[in-house]
Structure formats: C-alpha cells, structure tokens
Point group: none
Chain length 86, copies 4
DNA sequence: AACGTTGAAATAGTTC
DNA sequence: GAACTATTTCAACGTT
C-alpha cells in the first residue's frame, strides 16, 4: 500500500503534478498577455493607460452592483426593515 | 561593538521591539472594533449588513475617483490624445 | 413607529461613526508599522526576513514544529527531502 | 485625421478585446487550481503545507539556502535561534 | 467546529 | 533601485 508515514503518497504526487501543470498553463496565458501589451506598445499605445482601461472596465460592472447593494442597504438601514429591534 | 555575524544586533532588537509593540496596539484596536460589532448585535442590528454599510461607505469616495479617471482615460483613448502614433 | 425608527437610526449612526473612527486608528497604526519596516530597510535590513522573524516569534514552538514535521512528511512522500531541494 | 484616429481606435478595441479574452482564460485556469486545492483538502491534505511544497519545488536550492542563512543570522542577533523558538 | 467567503497583508513583478 | 501595481497568501468572520 503506497503510504509514507501515513500519507497517501501517490495521491499527493498526482495533486502536485496537476497543480504544477495548471500553473504552467497559467504562466503561458500570462505570457501571452504580456506579448499583447508589448505588441500594443510597439504600435504606439501607452501600456500604462491600456492597463488602467482594462482594470477600470473590470471594475465597472462590479461598481454598479456595489451601488445597487448600497442603495438596498441604506433603504434597510433607514427604514430599519430587518433589524428593527427597538 | 554590538555586531553578531555582521548584523547590528541592538538596532535589530529595537526594530523588532517597536514592530511588536505596534502590532499589539493594532490588535487592541481590532478588538475594540469587534466589541462594537458585538454591542451592535446585542442592540438588535444585523452585523452583516452593518459590515457592508461600512465597506460601501469606504468604497464610495474611491469609486468616484475611479469614475473620473475612467472618463479621462476614455477621452484619451477615443481621441487618442497621447498615444496617437498611427 | 417613526420615533422608534428614529432612535434606532441614531443609534446606528453612532455605531457606524465609532467603527469608522476605530478603523482610522487601525490604519494609522498599520501605517506606523510600514514606516518602521521602511526605516529598517533603509538601515540595510532585509524586510522579508525581518517579517519572518516577527512571525516566528509569534508562533509558539509546538505549532512551528508541527508544521515543519508535516512539511517534511509531504516532501518525503513526493520524494523530495528538504535538504536536497536544489 | 478622423480616419487615422478611427483606425487606431479599432486597433485599440482589438487589443482590449484580446487582453480581456486572455484574462478570462487566466481566471479559468486559476479557478481550476483552486479546485484542485479544494479537492486536496477534501482528501485530507493540509493546503497550506501543500502550497509550501509547491513553492519549495519552484525555488532553486541556492536561493533557499541563502534565505535560510540570513534568517538564522537575524534570529541569532536577537538571541532567538531557530531551534529554541518554543 | 469545519467550511466557504471575503478582506487584509505580503510578495512578486513592472515601470521609471 | 525606488515606487507602484498586480498577484498570492493568510487570517477573520459568518454559516451550516
């Protein structure tokens, strides 16, 4: 039985291998992204601004949802909809 | 001269002591915050909502600035104000 | 009813104010800690190692040794001992 | 002039689209990794130690030993050796 | 009391 | 090499 000091060694090896494989994939994608930025830079675009655009576009949807949630919460807080214990 | 293997031991000890002192302070404040939440809960408020309110109030100012930056960036991107190399 | 709501709302505002005040304090202390690290760096100390020192001092020995042992076990299981990690 | 801007704007849109596509891929892989860790945890492995194993395998021995030596030095300087951290 | 979720801290990487 | 940003790791909290 493939145990080393109570550890299922084979299982552990599999897990480690899978993670390392996936991390390689991830690195490959990250490198692709870098390439695109480099290419963009070569085409005369400002990569710093480009990164900000990407970041803000990501935030956009999230922010909208946050605002919605905020409104909801304020309504509850002011109207004491839920936590009215007084 | 107070050196151990090339390290200024006294200086290091001082630094460690200062950091540990400050971390105690920080923990004390964190505990105070917990207390307030516990008290609020005792008064019938929903701590989850309370935490969200705090978080969103914090975000508020930041988000406004992000939006401003986004507008600025889009203006640059569409008008190609800076990176117009074509 | 509006009265009750009003009282609870006042209470809520107080709570929020207290928490936000405390979080400012906490941030101030956190900033102080950062400053000490920056100062230490300026004096030639390696901040990463310094953080490790602080962390080790916080851990009690039992916990530390437990983790070390478990790590060793895992490394052995995958056929990579701590010593020959090179 | 409007034309040039238009062409560059199209190019910019393409770039942004490509990056966002790649970032989705990256996120998907990152999620896969998380899943593996979750699965490992379900199988009884300590994920924190597991992460350490992965990290150690990535490090080359020289770097690792350097850091260990420096840590030892600091601990000695403040009168706390690695062994008697208890 | 373990689990997942979320927020803070720390580390690594990039740019200037 | 110093500052800023992004990613990763760690710890706290609520939940079941």
């Amino acid at each position: 039985m493939a145990k080393t000091g109570g550890i299922a060694a084979d299982r552990l090896k599999q897990i480690v291998a899978r993670i390392e494989r996936l991390e390689e994939d991830k690195k490959a994608v990250a490198d692709d992204i870098k390439e695109v930025y480099a290419e963009a830079k070569g085409a005369g675009f400002d990569t710093k601004i480009l990164r900000q655009v990407i970041r803000l576009r990501k935030l956009d949807g999230a922010e909208y949802q946050e605002q919605e949630a905020l409104l909801e919460l304020y309504l509850q807080a002011i109207g004491l909809t839920h936590q009215n214990a007084a």
